[in-house]
Symmetry: D2
Subunit: 307 residues, 4 copies
């Protein structure tokens, strides 16, 4: 196969997504997210062979929100191995990402680690009962991205806390079923902070490269997790990474990916590359409207759907 000209693909995409700008809706459930200017777009590719490509507003930092759930799951798998699956399932949820209904019917075992209840259980699993867990998370993300200036945006975390009645409902319901070891508010503090990390698209594509590289951080050559665990995180992203549009994303894009309500989406072509896209306006499923379109164009032009 000829070498793919990724930069040309990014340029083509940045043209073709233009008609889709202005068609979505910025997340407004917390004020601090609502004030992000619309009409921004950035995309970045990092390959396992060390090449990087960017386009658009690639300097702008955005809130990664739910994308962070992949980082904390990785930490939990490093700490607990397969024991984490005793506390959280790995099946698609089939219902809205923050539904308490399913959690109640399934006795406090969340459907997967990427719905909020699941991520809260994962936060509980990595919480050390003292103050060091947040440090551990931010250091982990700095190591993956190679960007030591990444930080928790306390304004975002505080805003999440202030308007987080539903998450507090979920954490307390989980606790009522005995599936939370620590106090709900302590665990939510971890959870809100992990969601409140800001980074740009290149930071993001670099941070996910280990999932395209059999678990190894290619910048430092350190193993993050085993190759087997890497495949599993990728499979989980494919079956549960895009809220209630998992099937849609698998159908139109065909890559394991994870999205956040901040407008970021990151996807992985196993053994080849990671690709991050950001555009703050969301579609009805809560995923970046332009981001999904851009990734669909990407797999079409680069011919690298896993299917």
């Amino acid at each position: 196969m000829d070498k793919i000209d990724y930069q040309a693909i990014l340029e083509r995409i940045s043209e073709e997504i233009k008609p889709f700008c202005g068609k979505g809706k910025i997340a407004d459930y917390i004020p601090v997210l609502a004030k992000v200017p619309a009409n921004q777009f950035a995309m970045a590719i990092t390959t396992v062979t060390g090449e990087e490509y960017v386009i658009g507003d690639s300097e702008v930092e955005f809130s990664i929100q739910s994308i962070s759930k992949v980082f904390t799951l990785t930490l939990a798998m490093k700490k607990l191995g397969d024991d984490i699956w005793k506390r959280v399932n790995l099946e698609p949820s089939g219902t809205s990402f923050n539904s308490l209904v399913q959690l109640e019917y399934e006795n406090g075992i969340p459907r997967n680690p990427f719905i909020n209840a699941g991520a809260i259980v994962v936060s509980d699993a990595i919480y050390d009962g003292r103050g060091k867990t947040k440090n551990q998370i931010i250091r982990f993300v700095r190591d993956l991205s190679g960007n030591n200036s990444l930080y928790f945006d306390e304004e975002v975390a505080e805003s999440e806390r202030k308007f987080g009645h539903r998450n507090r409902a979920m954490a307390n319901l989980t606790k009522s079923f005995g599936n939370l070891n620590n106090m709900a508010d302590e665990v939510l503090d971890i959870y809100y902070h992990q969601c409140a990390i800001g980074m740009n698209v290149l930071d993001l594509s670099r941070s996910f490269l280990y999932l395209a590289n059999e678990g190894v951080n290619s910048r430092t050559n350190e193993r993050v997790i085993s190759g087997r665990q890497t495949k599993r995180i990728n499979s989980l992203m494919l079956t549960s990474g895009l809220y209630d549009a998992v099937g849609d994303f698998a159908y139109w894009v065909g890559l394991p990916g994870k999205s956040g309500v901040g407008g970021g989406i990151v996807a992985v072509v196993p053994s080849v590359l990671s690709v991050a896209v950001w555009s703050p306006e969301l579609n009805e499923s809560g995923n970046s409207l332009v981001g999904v379109k851009a990734l669909e164009l990407f797999t079409t032009y680069a011919q690298n759907s896993i299917f």
Copy 2:
């Protein structure tokens, strides 16, 4: 009709319920309730004409728990009139009394004021935002019962709070739908205290007499609520007062009533009397096992089912 010999009926009941003692299970979701001695039974009748009858362990105080929801609903109806029905529905729930499922499907409007979520909304409705609400509640119950030594059992309230993860889930879910004006924890403090009132069966039958007396406290001759509102509370007790055994209770007993997990049940024969029973062991529906049986015998012998 000949005058009914209620004392003879109570004596007959206290014999006939004996085979049912020891067949239920004391509530153990909080330790302080679990340590109540089983095998206790008491029953009291207060008529609108001022007669009183008691039998059994009628001196023993028990925790009224959910029975208190009738008192706070009455306070909310006094304060808000029919406006309270904008925030809580008046239909039977059809599911377990603490289900979050229904609350989520129905957008935070609880099915009725006697399920936990509904009672929490009622507590929010009567909360003044400062510290006086608890005083108001206990004074109201003292007035109804004529017993000025009634008090909140702080040990019970604290125990409810400590193990109240599911109630906290419910309050936060309600808040997430915008149906709670105050902070969840403040409202729950009211709620846990109202449930933690201790009284004996005679206090209880006296406290409910206004619902048999067209809304008038017959001891003081003061109107508590209107006759019309009285009928409504009675109808609500009939359709929603016995957790998930409303139909069963209407079928076998045939009176408006309200039960609590402390083992108390109180029922009303409109225009005639109120009757309270207490026995701490519960049946599968969370109602006093002996208490339900005793009331079934009572309406059979006194021939006063409303149907």
Copy 3:
């Protein structure tokens, strides 16, 4: 108490309901019901002492629809006694009257005999496996009403069958749980016919008089069912007789009653009278809009709410 002038009350009601005419919506799920002229109203009272009062379009026959479920339940209780409660529960449903959701979660045991699934199970229980059951039903209703010209409206029954996909779904789901002894289509044939009986308001109030008369048909002096069973049917009507507006009806009217989508409602004042009302336009809960209002006025003026 002075003798109540029921005729005057009926006249007052027929004036006061006028503003509510034209505000509802005629049932249109089957064409044959949709063509009933709106703006009709009739009301009839039959007392246990033999007096009768009528007003309005009292000659017009209407389709009793779900009201028939009380007749078939009575037949099933005569045939099986309390064994019928092994196959159908007696709790309010808390959800829309034709929901399959609850039926599935509760393993094919319908919540009560007045939701469609419950009535289908009751039809199965009285079905003899041959052709005589329909005859038995119509004879029973003729005996109760004293009107030997009552008949099944075959056009209505056929229309119900033709558009009855959801009932067929329900019957088959019940069968899949083993709670239907006969073939779904045979049972549905019984069910559609019982719903397709036409009568006028006076027929209807006469037919229900046994439930106000401790189970005795006062015209023939024959016992229909025991006094105990009578109370139970009344309690069931109160907790489950008005679709998803049971609490509302108990709150505003305060009588055991049963409604049908044909616009009829019948209610019982135990030991006193039965009252039937008909007006074809329905409110959002599927009950006659004017009918509910008329009964609310009735219990207000006659002062005979059971609460």
Copy 4:
């Protein structure tokens, strides 16, 4: 990469699955399936370059059951293109494969074409209203497999019909929402027949090779569907092909696949091969217990998870 010795892998697998034989449970919801002898195992691989490998009871024909849903979906996509997605969604269901609950909440639009309700809608979509559809299906499967002796097992189809109360419930519920053009029983006749095709593992792996070959039948060189549609069917199999164990299968096996309660599972390595396995004992999710284990070993040894 060295050439993979698939025959050696099959031999190794057939040894290593032995401890898992006898641990599952043969489908017994219809008698005709229940009488299949346990302790059978067969596996077959067909590569896009024309090589074939088999092991075990590869001559034995088994009922493909739900695997047939991929064939009828392919026919529907050929006939309707993307219009089929107006009538059926493409998201994972998150609940048991035959649940009516979700179908009711989502107004008769099945979650995906591989749950029963979805497959029934697909059957309706390809039904011509006359008798030729079954012929079309069997011819299509014969063409894909190259085996002209494949046939519908009428005994199995009749058994499915006889015990198919839940499927009839589902079809009628779908019809009640207007999402079935033909009569429920006619559509179910198509559905039961498609499930009742018998074949052996080699037939099965050959039949699915077009999904590994960009949509082309490599035996005849005819295009079955477009490359784009092929990727989509593969993505759908990955997100919805294994009943309620989709996440588990993606996690442990990592290939698009489809299972049936007859004990067959077929999976696709895009651009490389199709692999079929059969062993009649099922695990708790209704998938072949030994089959899942065998495919997990297969992707481990052949190193061809798509993740």
